[in-house]
């Protein structure tokens, strides 16, 4: 590896000033990126193309085993789009995303604003807590949340009963749709706030303090300062993080699959879980592929918004 690189270095003319370093086109750069391009082609583009191909064939268990799939055009998509269950899943995914992202953004903004105002030690304490949450692996978090909300020995039920809510004695959270939905929201918000809060905090400290002082001299209250200075200054950053969070929540799969497998009933089945259920439990890989392609389409729209924000952010800085 080192020899390849150093030889690549040698190709550069010695002791010429940095750019513009124009010289005859060399094939070195292309050789250097070749492994990355090849890997992306084989391990990313090919599976994506394969997903499209599966979604326009009749592809169930027999076809998986024998491999004689019949081309059916857009029939799978038509079938998925005509299925009221699919639309229920889409609606649930949108509601799930909206609740999560709003909570994440509001809480992260509050935490970031708090961090700016805290003294050195208190800030260090809160940041340590946030980084700890960030470091918690998804799977560890799912086991802990199952333990927290366990029916008989869980600490949440104990706390609720101690506070006088007798109805929560031995309450089985995971048998109830909305309760499971709520726990998943709590889990995802808990996991997502650190990244958003720390990023927003990092952006907030770049705002010159003179602006705040001037605003306070004019008698502006906390809310007014936020609305007139902080938010407008960080508009691009807010947009960026919101887009990222939307993408992460829409495609959140592991938390839901491990805790509830989309249940009880279909109460927590969002798009990625639905695609996987259709493919795995019903062994309709074609329909599953079609659902996941529709999800990709949805995400591409968000992604375009994200790249626009990123572009704007680059222009600002």
């Amino acid at each position: 590896m080192t020899t390849t690189l150093t030889r690549a270095v040698e190709r550069r003319p010695p002791s010429t000033p940095p750019p513009p370093r124009r010289r005859r086109t060399s094939w070195w750069p292309y050789l250097l990126i070749a492994p990355t391009v090849l890997a992306t082609g084989f391990l990313l583009l090919y599976p994506l193309a394969r997903n499209v191909v599966i979604s326009v064939h009749e592809f169930g268990l027999p076809q998986l085993v024998r491999g004689d799939a019949r081309f059916v055009g857009l029939a799978n998509y038509a079938r998925v789009l005509a299925d009221p269950e699919f639309w229920a899943v889409v609606r649930r995914t949108l509601v799930f995303t909206a609740i999560n992202v709003v909570l994440i953004m509001v809480l992260s903004t509050l935490v970031a604003l708090l961090l700016v105002r805290l003294g050195k030690w208190a800030r260090l304490l809160v940041m340590t807590g946030l980084v700890l949450v960030w470091a918690t692996p998804v799977i560890a978090a799912t086991t802990v949340f199952q333990w927290l909300f366990q029916s008989r020995l869980g600490v949440v039920n104990w706390a609720l009963v101690s506070l006088g809510f007798e109805g929560y004695r031995d309450y089985t959270w995971f048998a109830d749709g909305p309760a499971t939905f709520g726990i998943l929201v709590a889990l995802i918000v808990w996991q997502s706030v650190p990244f958003a809060a720390l990023s927003l905090y990092a952006a907030m400290v770049t705002i010159p303090s003179e602006l705040y002082e001037a605003a306070r001299m004019d008698g502006a209250g906390a809310w007014r300062v936020f609305a007139a200075i902080t938010f407008p200054m960080l508009r691009a950053m807010f947009g960026l993080i919101t887009c990222l969070e939307v993408i992460w929540v829409v495609k959140a799969f592991v938390q839901i699959w491990v805790i509830s497998q989309g249940g009880p009933g279909q109460a927590t089945t969002t798009l990625p879980v639905y695609a996987f259920q259709v493919a795995q439990s019903l062994q309709r890989y074609d329909l599953g592929a079609a659902v996941s392609m529709l999800m990709v389409l949805l995400l591409v729209l968000v992604l375009l918004a994200y790249f626009r924000q990123l572009y704007r952010q680059e222009e600002v800085s």
Binding site: L5, A122, V126, A140
Partner: protein, 273 residues
């Protein structure tokens, strides 16, 4: 004055809400079983035991799952480090046609919704006879970490001034020596940070490990094993929490090693590219 008190209270609440689940996990892992099953839970580590860690470690296949996880995550990270370093060098130090297009491709690849590719990758692995192999999993993790690694390494490389290399040349170094003695030591912390971050991503991955390793249960990785804790430990929450703690330990160590770099460098790199 009231403002200060309010802020203090808010800080404590945020800290407690963040830390409590993790604290509860570790505390449960160390609690004797009778305390775990007590009517009123204890919130302080009054009596401690290593019994649950013993149960977790002696669970069937524990060490092979541990080894599989390390092999797969380590292999993926090494592979993506080598491949990404080449590409990052080409992007940061050389000018060529198609450079912008390549950078855009890497950025888009970084945003891949991998959850949508579970089905085709399962089918491809099955056709290639690579189901139930750690190789397939390593390749997938390599691809998942690759775009991120290229982007961050490019950032770290670009931050090293070319002048330094040229100064070394003036002092009589060869190109090879200049890279080894000047660029490499400066790049080493970046390489470490990037690879550790990639390692965590692969270490934590669940969805593909769950889909690609199905028949051969010995080839499972830790996340998949831990996700089905009730099959292993039943309602033994002490052992479950001990296993979760052990699983989280390497990740926590990585974060400690990286400390400030994680929050500033990586976030800056991820957001600003």
């Amino acid at each position: 004055m009231t403002g200060r008190v309010l802020r203090g209270v808010a800080a404590v609440v945020v800290f407690l809400v963040s830390v409590f689940p993790v604290y509860w996990m570790v505390l449960t892992a160390f609690k004797p079983t009778r305390d775990i099953q007590a009517e009123t839970p204890t919130f302080l580590p009054l009596s401690l035991t290593f019994e649950h860690f013993g149960t977790a470690v002696s669970a069937q296949g524990f060490w092979s799952f541990w080894r599989n996880s390390i092999l797969v995550a380590g292999g993926a990270v090494l592979l993506s480090l080598v491949v990404a370093l080449l590409a990052a060098f080409a992007v940061a130090r050389l000018r060529w046609k198609g450079r912008r297009g390549f950078i855009l491709m890497v950025f888009v690849a970084q945003m891949t919704p991998w959850e949508a590719l579970l089905i085709p990758i399962y089918v491809i692995a099955r056709d290639a006879g690579m189901l139930d192999t750690l190789w397939m999993l390593t390749l997938v993790y390599f691809m998942i970490t690759l775009p991120f690694t290229v982007v961050t390494l490019r950032g770290f490389l670009a931050a090293i001034p070319v002048d330094l290399e040229e100064a070394a040349l003036v002092d009589g170094c060869s190109r090879a020596q200049a890279f080894r003695r000047v660029v490499f030591p400066l790049l080493a912390p970046g390489l470490l940070a990037t690879s550790l971050f990639g390692f965590i991503t692969a270490w934590n991955e669940f969805a593909f490990a769950n889909v690609l390793i199905i028949k051969d249960q010995d080839d499972r990785t830790l996340p998949v094993w831990l996700s089905s804790f009730s099959n292993t430990f039943g309602t033994d929450w002490g052992a479950t929490m001990a296993a979760s703690t052990l699983f989280m330990l390497p990740v926590l160590l990585v974060f400690l090693v990286l400390q400030g770099r994680v929050t500033t460098g990586i976030v800056g790199g991820a957001v600003k590219g």
